[in-house]
């Protein structure tokens, strides 16, 4: 999204004769900033509260009235929290699931999107409508047969139930990729075909490199959805060595009766990776939300 914004007002309209309305405009802008900053503070307070509790001694964490600025700052809480939740192993597990999820989505959604965008075959329209409608279908509806299927396959308590379904194109990403591929001029394909490229080579050499922005969006959103997933691991994963971070954090809740400082330290640790990725790839996130919103 372009950052240059039209000068607009409450209704979004442009301010035309701005010298006359200067005072009104300034009051208005003061109001805008006040509300935005206040709102921002309200949004950030829970995060500050988490972080500050995470570095408090237990006495201060359980103090009334609450202590806003921890003293002393106990970084050892993080060490204890890491130890209690078997962090490295859970990070590895979450990483594996996420990695294959991203890889699978990138490949499958771009392939299928190319199919829908460029080929004419019977039933294409109907199939695409079906794909779109599955976006509205929560996976909870099919959760029981899936569970039974994975049980019969002997996949329970492995990562397979979490990885294999995400190797197949998700409707949302399929849609996003297709819309993007449609903006690539067909002449590019045709030129490649005349040069002797097969369909797949055309896809690989022309479409894929040109779809990078859309692939970026798919990657970050898959990362997020895989990393955040809770119900999936909750149902399919049972032994502790296979826990993901989300499961580990949830289990920790029962390990401490009163040590909310340690719980908040663990919470902070689990929140950190997505926040880092978010800051690194902010553009993709924001663009992804806007694009899916505008096209949906």
């Amino acid at each position: 999204m372009a950052d240059h914004v039209h000068e607009t007002k409450m209704d979004g309209s442009a301010v035309s004769t701005w010298s006359k309305k200067s005072i009104r405009h300034r009051t208005w802008m003061a109001f805008v900033y006040t509300v935005l900053i206040l709102g921002g503070i309200i949004i950030m307070i829970p995060l500050y509260w988490t972080l500050s509790t995470a570095v408090k001694e237990l006495d201060q964490a359980l103090a009334f009235p609450p202590v806003w600025i921890p003293n002393p700052i106990v970084l050892g809480n993080f060490v204890e929290a890491l130890k209690a939740m078997d962090f490295l192993n859970q990070l590895k597990n979450t990483g594996i699931i996420t990695f294959f999820g991203i890889l699978g989505q990138l490949i499958s959604s771009s392939l299928a999107a190319y199919g829908f965008a460029r080929f004419r075959f019977p039933g294409r329209h109907v199939l695409f409508i079906i794909a779109l409608s599955t976006m509205m279908l929560p996976f909870h509806v099919t959760i029981i047969p899936r569970f039974i299927m994975f049980q019969k396959l002997g996949w329970l308590d492995t990562f397979l139930p979490l990885i294999v379904p995400s190797l197949f194109a998700d409707a949302l990403y399929l849609f996003l990729m297709r819309q993007f591929i449609m903006t690539i001029p067909v002449e590019m394909d045709e030129a490649a075909r005349i040069d002797g490229c097969s369909f797949f080579q055309t896809f690989y050499r022309i479409i894929l490199p040109m779809s990078k922005p859309a692939l970026g969006i798919v990657a970050v959103f898959t990362f997020l959805s895989r990393w955040k997933d809770f119900m999936g691991p909750l149902i399919y994963i049972s032994s502790q060595r296979n826990y993901t971070l989300a499961l580990g954090l949830n289990a920790l809740r029962h390990d401490f009766f009163v040590e909310w400082n340690l719980l908040m330290a663990a919470t902070t640790i689990v929140m950190l990776p997505p926040v880092i990725i978010f800051f690194l790839a902010q553009r993709h996130f924001i663009q992804g939300v806007v694009v899916t919103g505008l096209k949906g």
Binding site: L88, K92, A251
Partner: protein
């Protein structure tokens, strides 16, 4: 491209993880036994870990893999999933009623053949306790490890500060209330009460009080329930008495007001806690004040306490039942090293009669000397808080807990909540 940066980060995470996992899994030629526990961190570190080390030292060809879920509900749910997936750990630690359901579903194995082969003398176990781990009177599906008797843990420093005498082993509930009232205080004078008499786990304690007061369990028969007895007038009164501890006598705050502080005694907000031996290692490890225990108060002259507890069982999916049995025997057999180790670490009230008189239990060396006989008070009248022993127990429990919420919050009387609950229980009995 930032996208590549993102991928790079993910790949880095992955590679580090894999490297770590590889370095951790060298030479797996030993017999691996998965040991599935539901303990908190203090017990995991101070009890489970030393036992694992000791057993591995004695049996160099065996590797014990500890798996732990500290919440009893989730423990059982995960276990179910693993059993369905045929990927359950070898040795598990179910509570009495859970073990029964597992045995009824044939998900844990009969230990009788092993017992006979190794000529284990089952008479060392308290007979009433051993009975709780038998299916159809013949199948023994677990070796009992403990009884989960309730006692009063009390904060000596708080009692001293308030100038109140310590609780004694011969108190009844009226004494408890009188004592408790003197401990409810606003210590810093800001107008808010910040010290309460006791931490009240409303999930389990009431069943024991009920049994003390009425001599009846919740259902007419432990194994084959046909009638829900909580609708009886005397049971309703007893239940109301429990709620009155919170809302009439104001000895403590309700579960809702407590929020997610799981132990007010530990956080220094309550002078007492009614709970069992499983808190001993926890308090030993992480409580700074002086504390001791006293027997659970009695109702009038009637004493009673829990006979249920936990056992070690072997799952059907175990690939090494023989090796698993050896470990179970080490953990819970007659005067077994594991039992002694558990005792030496301050864990548990033994299910073996002889051990309750052992110095190791009564005066555990190197541990805070506490009033251990308090845990044995009420043994003449054993009961189980898990009612009934059927496959629909977990549904009954869920319904019961949900129905009692307004009671514990002071929004309804015992009579009202029981009335609302009764049809659900009858439907469960009828098997709808």
């Amino acid at each position: 491209m930032k996208k590549w940066l993102v991928l790079l980060v993910v790949v880095c995470l992955l590679v580090t993880g894999m490297a770590l996992s590889l370095s951790g899994s060298a030479a797996p030629k030993k017999v691996q036994l998965r040991w599935y526990l539901r303990w908190d961190n203090a017990r995991l570190n101070n009890v489970a870990q030393p036992i694992k080390e000791e057993y591995e030292k004695l049996n160099p060809n065996v590797e014990i893999i500890i798996e732990n879920i500290s919440n009893s509900n989730e423990y059982h749910m995960k276990l179910q999933t693993m059993l369905v997936a045929n990927a359950a750990p070898d040795v598990i630690y179910p509570a009495t009623h859970q073990a029964y359901v597992l045995a009824a579903n044939k998900q844990i194995i009969d230990l009788m053949p092993f017992v006979k082969k190794d000529k284990i003398d089952l008479n060392v176990y308290i007979p009433e306790v051993l009975e709780l781990y038998k299916y159809n009177k013949t199948m023994l599906y677990g070796l009992p490890i403990d009884t989960a008797a309730f006692v009063i843990f009390y904060n000596k420093d708080m009692f001293d500060a308030a100038g109140v005498p310590y609780p004694t082993d011969d108190m009844n509930w009226e004494d408890f209330i009188e004592l408790g009232k003197k401990l409810v205080k606003d210590t810093d004078g800001d107008g808010k009460i910040d010290q309460w008499a006791f931490h009240f786990d409303t999930n389990t304690v009431w069943q024991v009080i009920l049994y003390q007061m009425t001599g009846e369990l919740l259902f007419d028969d432990l194994y084959n329930p046909k009638k829900f007895l909580l609708t009886n007038k005397n049971q309703i009164e007893a239940l109301q008495f429990c709620a009155d501890l919170i809302h009439k006598h104001k000895l403590t705050i309700s579960p809702a007001q407590r929020g997610n502080i799981g132990d007010m005694f530990m956080s220094g907000q309550a002078a007492m806690n009614i709970i069992g031996h499983w808190r001993v290692p926890t308090y030993n490890a992480s409580v700074k004040f002086n504390w001791d225990v006293a027997a659970l108060p009695q109702a009038g002259k009637v004493r009673a306490n829990r006979g249920d507890g936990s056992c070690f069982s072997i799952t059907k999916s175990s690939k090494n039942p023989q090796a698993a049995w050896e470990f179970v025997k080490f953990l819970a057999g007659p005067n077994a090293p594991g039992v002694r180790k558990l005792l030496a670490l301050g864990q548990m009230v033994p299910s073996q009669e002889a051990l309750t008189k052992d110095e190791l239990y009564l005066k555990t060396p190197g541990q805070r000397l506490i009033n251990k006989p308090a845990f044995l008070v009420g043994r003449e009248n054993m009961m189980t808080v898990y009612q009934p022993f059927t496959t629909w127990y977990s549904e009954a429990e869920t319904a019961m807990r949900a129905a009692f919420v307004p009671l514990w919050e002071g929004q309804a009387t015992a009579e009202q909540v029981v009335k609302a609950l009764a049809p659900q229980m009858e439907a469960l009995i009828a098997g709808k």
